[in-house]
Structures are given as C-alpha cells and as structure tokens.
Symmetry: C2
Subunit: 340 residues, 2 copies
DNA sequence: AAATTACACGAAAACGATATCGTAAAAAAA
DNA sequence: TTTTTTTACGATATCGTTTTCGTGTAATTT
C-alpha cells in the first residue's frame, strides 16, 4: 500500500511538511542539499502526490472533457486521438462523454461539468441543439469551451472547422464536372452550422453552373437510420431520381451504398456519390468512395492546443476566433468509372 | 460566477455547515423542514458540490481510466462506447489513454494513475507488453484493474474476452470448407494471448483436417504497416503462396486487401480472406469481407460493469474470473464467390 | 418527579497539498 | 561592531467536503 504523503516524508526526514512540499516543487526557498535529500527520500518511499488535494487547493484539475455526439464515428475518433496526443504532452487528461446526439443528454453532461470537474471543454454540439443556455452557463461558471466541427456561432470562443463551404462547393462542382445533371444533397440536420455551410456550397455551385435547384433533391436526414434508408431509397427510385449524390456526412454515404446494393443501382454508372468522410477503407469499398476528407486528427489537436494555451494563461474567456483547416478531395471510383 | 459552497449556503440560512452538508445528503440527523429549506436554497443559489473536495475526503473519485493500445480502431472504440454508456448510468466518468501499442508509454500511464487519480482501470495491454510489474504496482496501490480483449493471464483479476480459440478454429475451418488448400495465418504479436489462442484455433483446425502446418505460412506482423505490407506481398507472390488468409486482426485484413488490389490478386477467386473485424463497412468492401465479429460494445460494457460492481463494494481486489462473450461468423464475399 | 432516550443540530477534525507569513541564523553592508 | 540583507526553513491557514463527537432541548419511560 503506497499511501505515502507529505507528512510521512516529513516525519522520515525530520523536517517540516512545508519544506518537503517546497523542495519537491523546486522552490528557491530551499537549499540544494535539503532538496536532494527530500527528492531521494521521496523516490525511495515511492511518494506520489495526491492529485485531488492539489486540485482542491489550486482549483485546477489538469483535466478537460470532450463532449461528442457519438463515439463510433471515424471523424470524432480521430479528433479524440489528436486531442489525446497533445493532452499527454501538456500533462492534461481527457474525460470522454457521448451525447448520443441528444440535446437533453448534452445539457445534462454540461451541467455535470459545471462544478469544476474539468478545467475546460472541447465540444461538437449535437445535431438537435438549437438553444445554448447550457453552454453559456458553463462559460459563466468560468469553464472555457472550444468548439470543433459542429460549432455554435452564437457563442464567443474559439472554433475549429474545416472549409465547409468551399468543400461543399468543390464536391458539387466535381459531380457536375463528372457529368451529373441532377444532384441531390443529403443533409444531416438543419440546425448544424456545418450542414448549412456545406449546403450553401452545394447551392452556390449549382447556381454557378446554372443548375436549377430542386427542393425535392435536398433530403433532410436524421439520426434515425431506418428513416434515412427509406428517404434515400424513395428518392433513388422516384421518377425524379438524381444521378449524383453529395452526402454531408459519411454515415449517409454508407446508407446510400447499402440502398444501391439492395436495389441494383450501379455506382458510378447510374449514380455518382461523393461524401464528407474519414473512412480508412474508402479505397476498398465497392466502388471506392470519392471523399472530402477532413484533417480530423489535426482539428482535434488544434482545438486542444488552443484550449491548453488559454488554460495556461489562466484566462477563462477565450476570444472569438475562427480557425479553418482545409479538407482534401480524393477522387475515387464512386465518381469516376475509370477508377476501381 | 457560481462559486457557491457549503459555507455560503450555511451563512445564507443561518445554520451550520455540517447541517447543510447532512441535509443535502439526506441524513437522518436532520429534520424534514430543515432539509427542505436547505434543498430549496441550494437550488436557488445554484449550489453544486466541489467534486475534488469530496474526492479528497472520500478517497474515491468516481472516475476510471481506459488504457488502450490505439483509439483509431473500431474494436476499441466500440468497447469505449459500451463502457461509457454504463459509466454514465452508474455516475462514473471515463478518462481515455492511448498507449500507441508501446509498453513504455503504457508503463508511464499506469505510473501516472498510481496516485489515485482513478478508482479503477479498464485495460487492453499493448502488443509488446511481456512484463507486468507496472500492472502489479497498480494493483498493489489498491487500484483494481479489469482486462478485456488483450488480457494478462499472469494477473489475478477479471478478464473479458471473446471465444478466441473456438473462433480461430471456426474461421480456419470455414476457409477449409470453402476449398482452401493452403491457409496462412497473419499474427499480430507473439506476446498477445488473443493472438496465441486464435493461432491455436487455426492449428487445431489444420490438424483436424490433416493439413500440414507450414511455418512459412504463419506470418509475424507488427505495428509497422510498411513492414506488414512487405511481408504480405512477399508471401502472396511467392511460389508457396496461400489460397486462404486468416487475419488475426482487422488491420491486417485491410492491408491484405490493399496488397491484392495493387497486385491484381482476385479475392475470393485467387485468395479467400477471413478476419477478426468490427468494421461497419465489411458489407461494402470489394469484395465484402467475411468476418469474425466480436461483440465489442458488450465486452466494454461487461468489463465496466464488473469493475463498478467491485468498486461499489469497496473491494480493491477482484478475484480471478474469465468471462467469455462469443463472437459471430459473418460469411461474405471474401470467402464465397456467390456473394458480392 | 426523576431518569432515560430520542431528536436536531453545531463544533471541529480530518483528507493532502500549497502558499503566505514569520523568524532564526548566517552573510553582507554600514 | 552594528545594522541590514539574504538564506533556509517552520508554523499555519486554506481549498470544500464529510463525519465523528458533543450538547442542549424535547419526548418518553419508570
């Protein structure tokens, strides 16, 4: 049982607790010899400071929370991975919370964090979040928050995103240049800023190339996969069926693939597909999937870096800042018949 | 600034701190009226207890750590997701640590946890871990640990795995029954128990069907993807090339797919492939991948459940226990030409 | 009426580390 | 030599809870 504390150390060395504490923190108040003795004794007795005592004293826990809509998602996982990597370097620890894309659960989690369990929060809001009181409360409690991907424009803080508008534009234009005449957009949620921007990019590209916008081809999807499958199947088997699909998120592209497989719709011959995606197996799909790939790892890393920077300054208010890290288009078989 | 503490509440109510504390914890010592007053005031003043003060006092933090080889891995992510779901229900929080499959980093992380930052640990050991002092230290410090998937037989505690031997046997037999004559096994690490068992299953099936074991067909892979690609390419283009591959983990199956794609080896005609995998897109690969799918979500959930059960009892020693949750074989195109 | 028990609350000691003071002794300056 | 400064350390309050123990009043028992 290594329950050695400062008091034990002090007793063993016949000096005071405060001297031991200062020696271990390399204070200028303590002589070199004493320091050495203390450090040696701490080593030999296997001392390691009780973290919670320090947290209580300093009101800092060196812990942050990542609050995410879902975990089983390549994008978020890579973002966690990026944040985790940089956290370790800065001596921070990461608590993980999944909101299951539900505003109520999201709100509950943030309320739980209100009491100072974490020094800061990295967050991607859930798709049905349209009010932000729970977020503002957190900030007012002095806990800074940095958004990434699914951001809140309404909150003043740092926000990391990719170039959603430009990428949406690029994706749509790529479909047009690949010969598509009727392009559908699969939307994930009307409340999400990223969705809005990607859709704006889509609309802009349509306009530029004098395509008429058909509201029927803008499909409002949700978190309910059954319903999404229905909607996608319906549009792909309707008279007005599109010959190109731009999926705003990976999940919807995969659903599209499933629907096509079951209904013998050939990609890319009958239908070309492009999607925002961080799938590692995009290359190996049948056909390989043309993607807009976000630098998720870097985005997570950047979000964490900014948060740590402000935490180090003991500034709980993070000024508004929009950081954009560009995505990349990878053209593959789902939009180009010459690629397998 | 909601920095309301018990003292503030007590002052506002003109009663003592201890009464407030007891009232909020619904102690029998406090009268009903006082309780109501206190609770109402706590509500109106927005009181929320400082977690670290409680942790310090109780020596419990309601926090556990998950220590994993890597995050960008479908299996581990599902396991995290399972643990996270059950943690929330039990009021626990989860810290995430990635070892990058490196024993040194793993050791460093466990050392960091030694000081009581967490009440318990869920862990899958890294593939080059062959000594267990750092794990034993943790247990001796009174922090219980539950293993899942990549377990340590040498440590006495609860261990959750899938039926690796039987699944390895089943996978190999499936290849044999699919007509394979020369079956290779892609090993991930000789130190890992799961790998060992899967390989034993492979060997047993080979024996049962009077296949001669060819050591050349047992390929020792590693965490270095370049090297794995080389090895797999080498064996698939050698004179002694196999017509069936059993990949012990998903990553190696994907590498096999890449190699086949680049070298025009047709799956399943030239080569049949089966793999342990939790890929959501197994269906959509070219060809779809026959998998042994582990119930990762349930495994994570079960591991967390067991840990919480023991933590609730304040028992820091978890008796040895082996819990097995079976995997499922999903036959798809990579072993059956009639399936796309 | 006296003795006992229950009830409702307050005072204070932990939990373990940190930081502000205060103060001896030694060194430097006057 | 006296005064001032530096050096090195100790005593103590503090962070916010929880919990043990003590105590005065009211209710119950003999």
């Amino acid at each position: 049982m290594s329950k050695v504390n400062l008091k034990d150390l002090a007793k063993a060395l016949n000096i005071s607790v405060s001297t031991v504490s200062k020696a271990l923190r390399d204070s200028y108040e303590i002589g070199d010899e004493t320091k050495k003795k203390v450090i040696a004794k701490a080593q030999s007795m296997g001392y390691s400071p009780n973290p919670y005592a320090g947290f209580l004293r300093n009101q800092k826990s060196k812990t942050i929370a990542m609050v995410l809509p879902e975990l089983t998602n390549n994008y978020f996982i890579q973002a966690i991975s990026g944040a985790e990597a940089i956290a370790h370097e800065n001596g921070y620890h990461i608590l993980i919370y999944a909101t299951n894309d539900d505003k109520e659960k999201e709100s509950g989690i943030l309320n739980h964090l209100l009491n100072g369990r974490v020094d800061g929060v990295l967050m991607s809001v859930s798709s049905n979040t349209s009010q932000y009181e729970h977020i503002n409360e957190l900030i007012q409690a002095g806990i800074p928050i940095v958004f990434f991907d699914r951001i809140c424009h309404e909150i003043e803080t740092a926000k990391i995103t990719t170039n959603d508008f430009a990428s949406g534009f690029l994706a749509t234009e790529h479909l047009i240049q690949s010969g598509c005449k009727k392009i559908a957009y699969l939307s994930i949620s009307e409340h999400l800023s990223i969705d809005h921007k990607r859709k704006q990019g889509y609309l802009e590209a349509m306009n530029k190339h004098d395509f008429t916008i058909d509201e029927q081809l803008i499909v409002q999807c949700s978190t309910d996969e059954k319903s999404n499958t229905q909607k996608i199947k319906k549009i792909l088997t309707s008279k007005n069926k599109p010959d190109g699909i731009f999926a705003s998120v990976e999940r919807l592209a995969l659903t599209t693939y499933q629907v096509c497989k079951r209904n013998n719709i050939s990609i890319p011959n009958d239908l070309k597909v492009i999607s925002f995606s961080n799938l590692r197996t995009a290359d190996l799909l049948n056909p390989s999937l043309t993607t807009i790939t976000q630098p998720a790892f870097e985005i997570g890393k950047e979000a964490a870096t900014i948060l740590f920077k402000h935490l180090a300054k003991r500034k709980s208010i993070i000024p508004n800042e929009n950081i954009v890290i560009n995505s990349e288009l990878s053209i593959r078989g789902s939009t180009n018949p010459t690629i397998k």
